[in-house]
Symmetry: C2
Subunit: 454 residues, 2 copies
C-alpha cells in the first residue's frame, strides 16, 4: 500500500482521533487542570507509540514533554524535528462559545474546539503524515522526532531547560514548526524571519509623596510630565524612531523581500475595521506589511502615574512609569539596542527628577535563508499541497522557541502555519477547517518526501 | 471686668474646653461616626448658647450646620461672620500616632489631637474671644455670626446649599476664615488671593482592543504615545505653558505684591528636603512663592494606559488617558481657560486616533484688596497680637467656600490662619500649639475691636 492510499482510507478515522485529542481540557495556565494535562500527554504519547514511534514522556517541573522518534536512526537519512504543543489557552469567556470548548463539533466543515487550530490540529496533522508513511511502508522518507510540550501558552520554561539538557538526543537537520497561520485561505507561506524584542521600564521619581497641586503646582517638576516629554521624544512625526544609531544595524529589505511582502493580501479598509482604528500610521517609506514584519518599532505598552480613579484628585504625582518594548529586526542586537535606548533616555531626562530604567526581557530577531535546501523543500511541498506559489513571509511577533532552537541546537526552523486568519486562536469559538487539517497532512507528507530527496 | 481680664482668668479653663471639644471623633468621611458628628455638633452648639449666642442647629442631608449669632442686631455695628468646621479628617494610619488621636494630650506646650489645628482649635479661639467680650461686658465690639459646618473635609456640599437658602440671615459686612496656617512661627499673614482650578480628562482611543505589539507594532499609532506627545506640548523648557492665549488675562503681580511674597520665609534646601525633590523647577522669571501662589500652572494628576502590572505585556494599548488640572489666577476665567486648552489639545492631536476631552470641575480664582478697611483692620489686629508686621500673602490652593461666600453672599473673606507649618493637619500627630491657641484668642479680640472701630 502506498502512503496516499493509507491516508485516504483513514481520513474519517483521523478526524475522529483529532476530536478525541481535542476533548482533553489541557489548560496549562490553570493548576486545576493538571490531571487533564497529564491525561492528554499520555493520550498523545500512546498515539505516537501506537504508530511505531519510540516514545518517552519526560516529567518536568511543569507539564510533561513528549519525545517520539523514528525507531532506528538510518544513516544517510535526514532527521526532522517536528515541534508542537498539546496545551491550550483557557477557553473563557465561556458564554461566547457557540458549542462547548471541549466537546468538538463539526459545523460548516470546521471543527470547533479549544486547541483545534492552536496547536493540536496542526501538529497532529504532521503526526498523521508520519503515520501514513509508517503504516503503509514501515518507514518515512526521513527520520523524525516529535517534540511536544505542554507549556507553550505559559512560556515554555520547561522546554528551554529540556533543550539544554537533552541537546544530544535532539540533534537534527531541520525543525518544522506549524504553530501559526497562513496569511489567507489558499495562500500558503513560509516564514523565514521574526522580530526580536527589547523590553524596559522607565520610572521617573519626583517628590517623595504625592503633593497638593494647588499648594505646590508650578513650583516643582511634575514627573508625569517629564515621562511624557521623554516618550514624546522617542519618535518623530514620520513614525521614525529618533534614538541615534537605532537603525544602524537594520538589514535592509531586498527587492525580492519587498516583492514577496507585497504579495500578502492587504485591504486598508479591512485592516482598519479589524483593528478598530480610524487611520493607518507608521514609518514613512514602508508598507504596512513591511512595518509590521521587517522594521523596528518602539511601543508604549503601559503607563501609570498618580490618580486613576473616578473624578479628579488634585495632586502632583510622586512617580510616573512606563512599560516600553521595542521590536527589533535582523541584524540589530538586543544588548546594543537597549544601550542606545538607555543612553538616549538618560540624555533626555532633566535633572529635576530621578530616572531609573529597568531592563526587561530581550530576544534576538530570527532570520534564515528562504533559499536554503530545507526552505526550498518546504516551498515545493507547500506549492504542491495548495496548488499556489507560496509567499515568503517575515513576521512581526517573536516565536521564542524558534530562537531557542537556533541558539541551543543550532538548527533553523521552517515556519509553516496551517491555520486560517479566522480560526480564532486564544478566542472563543476556535476552529480548524477540516480542509486545513487534510491539506496539512498532505503538505506534511510532501514535505517529508521533499526533505527526503535532499 | 474688661474682656482681657475675663480671658486671662480663664485661660486654663478655655484649654480644658478645647480638649473636651477635641474628644469627639467627628469624622465626616466615615458613616460610622454619624452619632459622634451629631454629638459634637450638639456640644459646640450648646457652648455657643452658653456664652449668650442665639444658636440653631440646622439638619442637612449630611452633617448639621450650626448658626450662632449675637442676640440682637445693633444698628450701626458691623456684622462679622466667622466660619469654621467641626468635622475632622480620619486619623489613619493609627499606628503612626504617638498618642490616641481623640484623647488630647499636652506635650511640649502643644495639644496633640485630630482636629486640634484643623479646625476646632482655630474657630474655637474665635468663639472664646467673643465669649470674653460677652462674659465681661455683655456685648462684643461688633455683631457676630458663627457659621460652623461638619462637612468641610468631604466637600461642604450641604453648606453651599445652606448659603443659597439662608442668604438673608447670613447677611454680614465681612467674613473671617481661620482654616489655614501662618507661613512661619511668629509671622502672621493675611491671605488676600487664592488660585482657581480647571480640571479635565483627556482620553485618546486607538485600536478597539489591546493589540499584540509584535504583530501590529509599527503599523498603527500607539494612543499612549499620542497622549505623551500632546502632554509634552503643553509646556516649554522654561516651565511656561505653551497654550496660546493662556497668559492673556493673568493680572501681573505688582511690585508691592512681589515684595510681600519675598518676605515669606524660604530655604531652597529645606523646601527640597520637605518635598523630597532633587531640584526646584518652575516658570522662569518667578520665585518659588510667586510660582506657587500667583502664577497659572498645568499639572498632570494621573495617567493611565495599557498594562500596569508586574513584568511586561507586549501590547499596543487601546486607550490612554490623563487627568489634568490647571490652577488659574486672577483675572483668568475658568471657562475661557478650558476653551483655550481644549482648542490647543484638539489642534495637537493627530487624526490617527480618536480624542475626547471631558471637562471636570472649575473654580474661579479669588482676590480681594489687601487695602480695604477690613483688610487693614485684620492687618492691625495681627500686628498687635503677634508683634510683627504681617505679611500679605497669596496662596496656590483653592478654598472653595471663600469663592462661594463671595458668589452667594457677595462678601469678601479675611483669611487669617493660626496654625503653624508643623501642625500636621491631615496627618498623624496633628497638634495645635498652646501659644497659637492663646494668641489666636487675643488676635480675634483685637480683630473684633479693630472692625468695631470702622
Amino acid at each position: 500500500m502506498n502512503p496516499e492510499t493509507y491516508y485516504t482510507e483513514r481520513k474519517n478515522k483521523f478526524l475522529d482521533k483529532l476530536c478525541e485529542y481535542l476533548r482533553f481540557p489541557s489548560i496549562s495556565a490553570q493548576a486545576v487542570y493538571k490531571k487533564d494535562i497529564e491525561a492528554c500527554a499520555e493520550w498523545i504519547a500512546s498515539y505516537c507509540e501506537g504508530i511505531g514511534l519510540n516514545t518517552q514522556i519526560f516529567k518536568t517541573e511543569g507539564c510533561p514533554i513528549i519525545l517520539a522518534s523514528s525507531p532506528v536512526r538510518r544513516p544517510g537519512k535526514k532527521k526532522v524535528l517536528i515541534y508542537g504543543h498539546y496545551d491550550v489557552q483557557p477557553p473563557e469567556p465561556l458564554d461566547l462559545w457557540k458549542s462547548p470548548p471541549f466537546e468538538p463539533q463539526i459545523i460548516n466543515n470546521a471543527i470547533y474546539a479549544r486547541g483545534a487550530s492552536d496547536n493540536k490540529g496542526q501538529h497532529f496533522a504532521h503526526l498523521l503524515a508520519v503515520e501514513s508513511f509508517l503504516g503503509s511502508q514501515n518507514e518515512a522518507p526521513c527520520d523524525v522526532i516529535f517534540l511536544l510540550e505542554g507549556e507553550e501558552e505559559v512560556g515554555s520554561q520547561s522546554l528551554t531547560k529540556f533543550l539544554r539538557e537533552h541537546k544530544d538526543i535532539l540533534n537534527c537537520d531541520c525543525i518544522v514548526v506549524s504553530d501559526s497561520g497562513m496569511p489567507a485561505r489558499n495562500l500558503p507561506a513560509l516564514t523565514y524571519a521574526l522580530r526580536g524584542v527589547v523590553a524596559l521600564e522607565l520610572i521617573i521619581k519626583g517628590p517623595s509623596h504625592d503633593l497638593h497641586s494647588g499648594v505646590y503646582g508650578g513650583a516643582i517638576e511634575n514627573p508625569a510630565y517629564v515621562l511624557c516629554k521623554i516618550i514624546a521624544g522617542l519618535k518623530d512625526d514620520q513614525g521614525r524612531i529618533t534614538i541615534p544609531g537605532i537603525y544602524d544595524d537594520v538589514r535592509p529589505l531586498s527587492a525580492e523581500e519587498r516583492l514577496q511582502l507585497a504579495r500578502l493580501p492587504f485591504s486598508e479598509d479591512e485592516f482598519k475595521k479589524q483593528l478598530g482604528v480610524v487611520k493607518i500610521f507608521g514609518e514613512s517609506g514602508f508598507t504596512t506589511w513591511e512595518r509590521r514584519a521587517a522594521r523596528p518599532t518602539i511601543e508604549i505598552n503601559g503607563i501609570t502615574s498618580g490618580y486613576q480613579g473616578e473624578g479628579s484628585k488634585t495632586i502632583i504625582p510622586s512617580v510616573a512609569s512606563a512599560k516600553i518594548t521595542l521590536r527589533i529586526v535582523p541584524d540589530q542586537r538586543p544588548e546594543r539596542v537597549y544601550e542606545l535606548v538607555r543612553k538616549h533616555i538618560e540624555g533626555a531626562c532633566p535633572d529635576t527628577v530621578t530616572l531609573s530604567i529597568v531592563p526587561g526581557h530581550m530576544g534576538e530577531a530570527y532570520i534564515t535563508s528562504y533559499d536554503s535546501v530545507y526552505s526550498r523543500a518546504a516551498i515545493d511541498a507547500l506549492r504542491k499541497a495548495y496548488g499556489v506559489e507560496p509567499v515568503l513571509m517575515r513576521e512581526g511577533g517573536s516565536v521564542p522557541i524558534v530562537t531557542e532552537f537556533k541558539k541551543i541546537l543550532g538548527v533553523d526552523s521552517l515556519l509553516i502555519g496551517m491555520a486560517l486568519p479566522d480560526d480564532n486562536p486564544h478566542s472563543p469559538n476556535e476552529k480548524f477547517d477540516i480542509d486545513s487539517f487534510y491539506k496539512g497532512i498532505e503538505m506534511s507528507m510532501l514535505l517529508l518526501e521533499e526533505i527526503g530527496k535532499i
